[in-house]
């Protein structure tokens, strides 16, 4: 399988007007992802994992400077034109976010929010876009998708909202899905369901998945490979099974130990 995404020497610095020296968010991060591969990005809050995820789609907020290279399907994401990035986003690489409620437009019906992905990428026929959206809402496990498409985000439950966002992200069958803490804001039981859906969709489509989480448990059940971020540096890059068995870096060890208190006691 060929390389889908390559991150080479990525550095992110936050420019603050007050201080002359910028704050470093990510330092010299490199890793790559093959087609259809699942990778977990593990790190504590503040380790720079969300910034990493956003930089893959070139969605960093203004004021964050990026150096290095991010190559996705032959496109240089950091230097690509606005138009080139736009045609990739939502079509070849998609993203789902941590807070499903705030990530949805409160004034737009959820069906329209899914359908507009197709419309942004050349679907002129509004009826066809809508039909595709309703079908996709059904495929992410939402019952009565036709009626649900007419609702507003605040009328849905947390898990339903995240499914709507997932439907929008998967509508055009992307090659890579970036999921930034997709289950952290959900109830525990709903978390498991959404995670299961994510895994099922990934396998069904043979799509690559980059899952960002602070929870090794979530990553362990979903991703073949794991990279560990610690204080802006990539400190470990290993198959998930190997990481669980023999973590190399002290921080990885601490994370692994944290979910295995019983074994440690033995």
């Amino acid at each position: 399988m060929s390389t889908l995404l390559a991150v080479e020497g990525l550095c992110l610095d936050a420019m603050r007007e007050a201080s002359a020296s910028p704050t470093s968010i990510l330092r010299d991060v490199s890793f790559s992802l093959r087609e259809g591969e699942t990778i977990g990005v593990l790190g504590a809050s503040g380790s720079g994992k969300t910034s990493l995820a956003l930089s893959l789609l070139a969605l960093l907020p203004p004021g964050i400077m990026a150096r290095g290279r991010i190559t996705f399907e032959g496109h240089e994401m950091l230097t690509a034109t606005r138009g080139a990035r736009r045609t990739l986003r939502g079509r070849r690489l998609s993203m789902v976010f941590q807070e499903p409620l705030s990530a949805l437009n409160p004034r737009q019906r959820v069906g329209a929010q899914v359908a507009e992905v197709a419309q942004a990428h050349g679907e002129r026929n509004a009826v066809r876009a809508r039909r595709a959206a309703v079908e996709m809402l059904g495929r992410v496990g939402l019952a009565d998708a036709d009626r649900l498409a007419q609702r507003f985000p605040h009328e849905l439950a947390g898990g339903e909202r995240q499914r709507v966002l997932l439907a929008a992200a998967l509508l055009l069958d992307p090659a890579l899905l970036v999921a930034d803490e997709p289950t952290s804001a959900l109830d525990v039981t709903v978390q498991a369901q959404v995670l299961q859906l994510l895994r099922a969709q990934q396998r069904e489509r043979g799509m690559a998945l980059l899952l960002v989480s602070h929870d090794l448990g979530v990553i362990a059940t979903t991703c073949e490979r794991t990279v560990v971020l610690y204080d802006g540096r990539l400190v470990e890059d290993a198959p998930t099974r190997q990481l669980l068995r023999s973590p190399e870096h002290a921080h990885s060890r601490a994370l692994v130990d944290a979910i295995r208190p019983a074994e440690r006691a033995e």
């Binding site: 956003l54 736009r86 079509r91 976010f97 705030s102 949805l104 437009n105 507009e116 992905v117 929008a168």
Partner: protein
């Protein structure tokens, strides 16, 4: 919706009663009456003055006159305008549509232009189009309307002779004018007063709309929209604007009543014979029935404006209704 309309109707009645009473009271403190200029000369015998005042009931105590006026109002009678020699109802019926035309045109143009300017500014945030338009809207807010009006009159009207500087047109025999020519003439006369009002409105709307849009641009769903591959214009139009239009609609509710009153100045400068000019002339002539009717009409328009704004807000922002 029905409950809202009913509540507003009640609201209008209460406010109308309070406004009518207080205006009537205030007028009692003002010197003179409709006959002051015509009759109070040395050459008019006092018996004649008394007779005319008695004929129109001005010899009665204020309390009785108020009751009579209110009773007539309840029967739909607004009284007789001594300065115009017509019934007050006829004067108002002529003036109200003209004011609505002026203010309506100004608001429609002003809001469309203001929202457009704000979208353009946010699209090019902190680059030269934003800065240039920001400076212009600040100027528009700071310049008094009468100054704008005089500038427009001097240059567009007098120097370049593009537009008439006063009046409403349609002189001569209406039968000699085809309908479309009269309409065109009316619009031609409308250009300067409506344009000046619209500029003032646009500047204020643009500043409010820009601030509201910039606040929304930080929201997560804007990031989602970009992640979907939407272009910046679609992000602005489909996601930012619907969530940022609320404050500007509220501004419409505030602007409408003040414009009905604020148009007094513009109507006076451009000789536009609407409610503002009518009120102004009526005050000078001490034509009390006409003053009262004009003030009542302005109150009514204010309440109607608030109701219309609420309905618009409900349509544009459905969430508000559902949560209520």
């Amino acid at each position: 919706m029905a409950r809202l309309l009913l509540a507003r109707l009640f609201h209008a009645a209460v406010v109308g009663a309070i406004v009518a009473t207080s205006v009537f009271l205030l007028l009692q403190f003002a010197p003179g009456d409709p006959f002051a200029t015509a009759l109070d000369g040395a050459d008019v015998p006092s018996t004649v003055r008394a007779e005319w005042r008695a004929r129109y009931g001005f010899d009665r105590p204020p309390g009785e006159r108020f009751l009579r006026w209110a009773q007539a109002l309840a029967h739909g009678e607004l009284g007789y305008s001594a300065s115009r020699h017509r019934t007050v109802a006829a004067v108002v019926a002529d003036a109200v549509p003209r004011t609505l035309l002026l203010v309506g045109t100004a608001l429609a143009l002003g809001f469309a232009a203001g929202i457009g300017i704000a979208l353009l500014q946010v699209r090019h945030h902190q680059r030269w189009p934003d800065r240039l338009l920001g400076a212009l809207t600040l100027l528009g807010v700071a310049l008094p309307e009468f100054l704008l009006a005089l500038l427009a009159m001097t240059w567009l009207g007098a120097r370049w002779r593009l537009f008439p500087v006063a009046g409403i047109g349609g002189l001569g025999d209406p039968a000699a004018w085809p309908l479309w020519e009269r309409a065109l003439d009316l619009l031609w006369h409308l250009a300067l007063p409506a344009g000046v009002l619209a500029l003032a409105v646009a500047a204020r709307v643009a500043r409010h709309q820009r601030a509201a849009l910039l606040q929304v641009m930080h929201e997560d769903f804007i990031r989602t929209a970009r992640a979907k591959g939407l272009g910046e214009w679609d992000v602005l139009r489909r996601h930012a604007l619907p969530n940022a239009i609320g404050p500007v609609i509220a501004l419409l509710g505030l602007a409408l009543p003040s414009l009905v009153g604020g148009a007094v100045l513009i109507e006076r400068i451009f000789g536009w014979p609407g409610m503002g000019l009518t009120l102004f002339d009526a005050l000078l002539a001490r034509d009390y029935p006409l003053v009262l009717a004009a003030v009542l009409m302005a109150t009514l328009l204010a309440v109607v404006a608030r109701t219309v704004t609420d309905v618009i807000a409900d349509v544009v922002a459905p969430r508000r209704v559902r949560e209520r």
